[in-house]
């Protein structure tokens, strides 16, 4: 399975589009690669340094991945932070689906994903990790979900890719790469076998149906 970060309620994508895209494993050859595995690794090393630079108390950090794409990135960040700052950080996974702001609309329900928070978030500085930031709505949902787990001292956001079509006043603190795209395009993080095992790459896929013309 790969993740398609066409964030929920943007006008161009009905809720079903995300699920449809997520199962379309056959369109592998589509799109252009905007970040390859080496570039992703370099970006995560740089971001780890930036996180340490900005947060003096690195042992207060708590990495929280937004599934599915955020999970391998948060794990890699945890490894990088361990070698840079010598800290073993908790890595949580937080599904935002039940907090989405488009669930009041009727339509096929999006599938839920795993939530796994290994320890309390109280007084921690939570670093939310997502693969692709766009409208900001997923981050909004993630912050609401996070508050149900306690009262973090602060929340900062990492996105490997920022598409920039923000619809809410949400700031991404640490960006791997800004990639201007049209709303109709899709940005996909995936591994070679279509899953999320490294080597990973980020592709931009063409509009509607992704049949190759972009």
């Amino acid at each position: 399975m790969r993740t398609v970060q066409e964030h929920p309620p943007s006008a161009s994508a009905p809720p079903g589009a995300r699920a449809a895209g997520a199962s379309g494993g056959s369109a592998q050859a589509n799109g252009r690669i905007v970040l390859d595995d080496a570039a992703i690794r370099r970006a995560l090393v740089r971001i780890a340094h930036e996180i340490v630079e900005r947060n003096e108390q690195a042992d207060r950090l708590y990495l929280v991945a937004i599934p599915n794409g955020g999970v391998p990135l948060a794990r890699q960040l945890a490894e990088n932070l361990k070698s840079i700052a010598g800290v073993e950080l908790p890595v949580g996974v937080l599904d935002t689906t039940l907090y989405r702001d488009d669930l009041t609309r009727r339509g096929e329900r999006p599938p839920l994903r795993k939530t796994e928070m290994p320890s309390a978030v109280d007084e921690k500085i939570v670093i939310l990790v997502d693969d692709v930031a766009n409208t900001g709505r997923t981050i909004r949902a993630a912050m609401d979900a996070l508050m149900d787990f306690g009262r973090p001292r602060g929340v900062q956001v990492v996105a490997l890719v920022d598409r920039g079509h923000r619809e809410l006043p949400i700031r991404i603190d640490f960006v791997g790469k800004n990639i201007p795209t049209s709303q109709a395009e899709r940005v996909v993080l995936q591994g070679r076998d279509g899953g999320l095992e490294p080597p990973l790459e980020v592709r931009v896929e063409g509009a509607a149906g992704g049949r190759g013309e972009s």
Binding site: T104, G107, P111, L112
Partner: protein
Amino acid sequence: MIGRDLLGIEDLDRHDIERILETAVHMQEVGLREVKRVPTLRGRTIINLFFESSTRTRTSFEIAGKRLSADVINFSAESSSLSKSESILDTARTLDAMAPDAVVVRHKVSGVPKRIADVLECPVINAGDGAHEHPTQALLDLLTVLEEKKRIDGLTVAIVGDILHSRVARSNIYGFTKLGAEVRVCGPPTLLPPGVETLGVKAYTSLREAIDGVDVVMALRIQTERLSGAYVPSVREYSASWGIDRAKLRFAKEDAIVMHPGPINRGVEISHDLADRRPSVILDQVRNGVALRMAVLYLLTGRPHHPKEAA
């Protein structure tokens, strides 16, 4: 694809059942949080319409709805104008005019939830109708077995007791066979429905034969009025022949689990010492009931409402 209503497991295919169970697995996590509430059904209204008393199932649906932030209204026959001889369908139409987002129905007569679904715009969930079906019970039983055994396919399940009158048995027969388990039913000959084999199960009157090598033993509640006379000579005889205790359980697999939909007649369907402890998973069933009903409410309230034909 899951339909608008959940009236019985008979209507579902394997994919539907698996989707509900998968959703329920994630809902279980919400119940472990300190704040056991997600905003998913904010502003939605769920009506529990119970014509037959049931504290357990009603409470389970109520907690499930509330954990999803829905407003849950309990409408029971005692407190309603049903005693003033308003017809069931009139009641249903009246409730429908209040625009609920889902109605949960229990009635002692088979088919009433379907009749109500035919006149309502919103999804209807059957919480037990007569001897017909009790789909959420079967789904929570499947969830519990899945949690214990990590699979359903290839397991052998013995359902023991009053098969004839049991909606729980029917729903579980459909559910377990659709997911690839072998189902055996067992009970006094008077309480085995004739032709039950047509549902794809094997019927036994000997408990020992029925539970030989099974992975799951599911005891059913027996109505005490059926334990004297017409169906079974006496409580003692029923308990001696079909009550589950540790001695009889030796014939099942070593890691077999014991289930019961509740409420238990202690010492009748299940021995006292077995009721409260492993390998019985009765309280897990109750706990899973909330997560399972959250999953059903989540999945069904997303479906578009379509006007239905007048019945």
